[in-house]
Subunit: 194 residues, 2 copies
DNA sequence: AATGATTTAGGACGATTGTCCTATTTTGAG
DNA sequence: CTCAAAATAGGACAATCGTCCTAAATCATT
């Protein structure tokens, strides 16, 4: 494993801090503290704070894509792949309880800040969206794929938001199973067409 | 109509700005600018910025309660009342497109800031939650009321988040009708018990 | 070993932050 | 009208923000 460069280290730490504290509320001093890098050195790698944000979003896109590829490798069945997406809610429950969904909270924050990187951040959402659409098309739900994909996205976003607020495990468990049930029903409506 | 006091004016303006820009990103200068009140005068009404936040949350609780009372006055049928809640998504679509759901985005932000007012902000969510539960109990779904209420909350939160991101009207329309359909189905399962 | 380029450290900058203080003005009760 | 109380204005504060600059240290290539 190659050693992490300074630039990569900055991005990794910033990624976590932006998730935990929010982009706007995270200062250079915060990042410097956790990286043990002097403040002045930042500007040799990034000219502005916004450039760090762009790099963080790029990293998240890369990591998201890698995660999706893992799901694809682990399962050749589209329905199972969608399940992989839904069950992140359970796998990441501890972090979601503390800081919400990393995708949804970032886009919400950037929307409020009217930040230029809004479009870039939305791409992470789009990445999930388009991938889910492909899965639904694969199942045979071509016409409805777009709305079905966004339905899954919306449901999981809402679950994350509410779990972040109330941190009720019974709620989380119930909602995940409801969403999985919905997936089964939705798939079974067209398996007759095969 | 009695004239708005200075204190009330500060809270009203702060309420809007916190919603539009976020709490952390809104400065005293911002509020002062929109209220035409000198910065120094603030501290005669509020000792800290956090106290303004508490007052804003209090106002939102009051307004939420008033809105709920309107729904109750407008409809004696519990199902219709729940519909009133669901269709806020459509009535407030323009603001949601720009700034997201005022309840969800505030609680998310305060969670990231580890802010003391987190508990107060969550009360707004709880207010909707408990009220929705009462409606479901009124329908006769006593045992499931809690999970049904939170299901509605989660769904609407997710719809708001995604509409804020993609601003797709077809998505919004479709999801609202899906949620209304769900409500019909959920209610009809127990009308047999009457 | 020598030299040029890259990387790092740390201070300085102007602007802005929330907070506080002190005059001045406005208000309301006697 | 009087005068104490409440409300307002505006400057000062220490701290922090993102940004920039320069000197020192490290690296890589010859």
């Amino acid at each position: 494993m190659t050693k992490e460069t300074t630039r990569e280290r900055i991005i990794t730490v910033a990624d976590n801090l932006f998730y935990e504290q929010g982009f706007d509320h995270t200062s250079f001093a915060d990042i410097a503290g956790e990286t043990s890098i002097s403040r002045g050195n930042f500007y040799h790698h990034f000219k502005t704070k916004d450039q760090i944000l762009e790099a963080v979003i790029e990293l998240r896109l890369k990591n998201t894509l890698a995660m999706i590829k893992e799901w694809e490798a682990a399962s050749h069945c589209a329905k199972e792949r969608i399940k992989s997406y839904i069950t992140i809610l359970d796998r990441n429950k501890n972090k979601i309880a503390k800081h919400g969904c990393p995708v949804g909270t970032l886009t919400s924050e950037l929307a409020k800040l009217s930040h230029d990187a809004q479009g870039s951040a939305n791409k992470i959402f789009s990445l999930f969206d388009e991938w889910l659409q492909i899965q639904f098309i694969d199942i045979g739900l071509n016409d409805e794929a777009e709305l079905l994909s966004q339905h899954v996205l919306a449901r999981s976003q809402g679950i994350a938001t509410l779990y972040n607020t109330f941190q009720s495990d019974t709620f989380l468990k119930k909602e995940i199973s409801l969403l999985l049930e919905w997936l089964e029903e939705t798939c079974s409506t067209t398996t007759a067409n095969h």
